[in-house]
Amino acid sequence: MNGVDPAPTFATISDLGLALRSGQTTAVALANEALRRLESTGRAMNAVVTTTTETALALAARADEELANGHDRGALHGIPYGAKDLLAVAGYPTTWGAAPFRNRYIENNAAVVERLEAAGAVLVAKLAMVEFAGGFGYDQPDAAFTGPGRNAWNPERWAGGSSSGSGAAVAAGCVPLAIGSETWGSIHGPAAYNAIIGFRPTYGLVSRHGAMALSWTMDKMGPMAHSVEDCELTLLTLAGHDPRDPSTLHRSAYQCDQRREGFRFATLTGATIGVEAEVADRYHEALRVFHDFGSVDEIRLPELPFDAAAATIISAEAASAFETFLEEGGAAELTALEDRVALLGALSLPAVDYLRALRVRRKAMAAIDELLAPFDAVITPGRATVAPPIDQRFLEEPNDPGARTIDGAANLCGLPGLMMPMGLGRHGLPAAVGLTGRAELDATILAVGIAFQERTGFHREMPPEPAANARDALHPS
């Protein structure tokens, strides 16, 4: 993805920035191209809820005028992006992916939207998502009023959830940057299945103000893009305390980690149990790359009920956040059958169970921090499989009880994580490698990711369909 030709929205933010500042393109041209792709390819993938054309063209024109006058807001100046539709944007519906809210307006911008606008970024779309970010208990891809999120590499495969539109839109070259959210896997899943970069920041690094609350103590907002550098450029804008979100950290400004070698890595005992053979093969190939720029030791996750604690906390907090909605019968209008009723069960979850989960969480945080202290990152297979068929229920997926994954522990304990492509697996679909680090060492994880990218080219691979068709349509021979 070097340079901006032939498909500008497949280019990295850095390359687009060079093109903008050299006069090769304009913010208005980029916005128009992004809007056109969103309305064609994006709609076909069920990745788009609303295109924000009027706002986009106004912001883009402002960006061009400012650059012409020597006012440069920085790396994101003039860059088109999409926001997961759980982020409030004044003047446009904020649907949370749920049919009952398809015409609901919230007249204040979310904090991340404010920050990106101040940095000169151009919002072009609100992107599709699983209804209520998957917190109502969905167990199949068709769980959004916009339809099941289709994968950019094969529309008969799932884009992942719950940030399905964010993942597919970036992968298909509709936008070079999207904002997703993760409570438990919602950035990492779509990033892995679509071969893009997804970054889950430390809990509290990015303000949740103006974002739908699913689980106050587990929700995180993060960037999804074509390169790790793009994620870091975005994080530089998003990170920081916000008095409107009491969970945001009081810390000094985010500092990049410039290291590119000499890292200390860990792998997990049992990490490939239950993992598809082709994904495991790519993982072992990736490990050889990590050996080039760091030491690799094997560690064992402590036998703590990470996943049970995370599930209990999310259920209790989601039931509380949507208590009135549930009691008034609003869930009956949701798309997925299980979403209409499953969370009702959490209305009778005992308080002592929730509190036990929070007490376990404190123990888990201490244990995992001690385990990770000697390491810069834990390397794991990003997902056990490639993207599943669009019509497959999750319960049909292989589920090996011996499998050891770090996702539940990382989300329970608020740890940063990076998802990166590591080649192709079964059916020519993307496989991904995940990195997890200690809380607040986001910059370290991103430095590791940049070093991995410099030694591989996986992040530059583009999907054959439908994105290539969209590109060809824009650049006919």
Binding site: P305, V341, A342, G345, R362
Partner: protein, 81 residues
């Protein structure tokens, strides 16, 4: 069927929780919908069993987010007694 520590079925708890949830939501469910709710409640009970595998002491506190910092009011008046 899940069992409690005495080896008894959790059916009583599941049905009681289903009834409580439906009463709160003033909701009537079809048979298949009720089965989904039962399944999720059964899963939450399984999670409780897993959580109990970790021993906790009396003073092991929850990882709460309780914070007075959001109160943007001034401090005590200087002339207060």
């Amino acid at each position: 069927m899940l069992e409690n520590r005495q080896g008894e079925s959790h059916e009583v708890e599941i049905e009681a929780r289903v009834a409580l949830a439906l009463a709160r939501a003033n909701s009537k469910l079809t048979g298949s919908e009720a089965d989904i709710v039962r399944d999720r409640i059964a899963r939450s009970i399984e999670h409780r069993h897993q959580l109990r595998t970790l021993s906790l002491e009396n003073q092991d506190e929850p990882a709460h987010g309780f914070d007075l910092g959001f109160l943007s009011r001034p401090g005590p008046r200087e002339d207060a007694p």
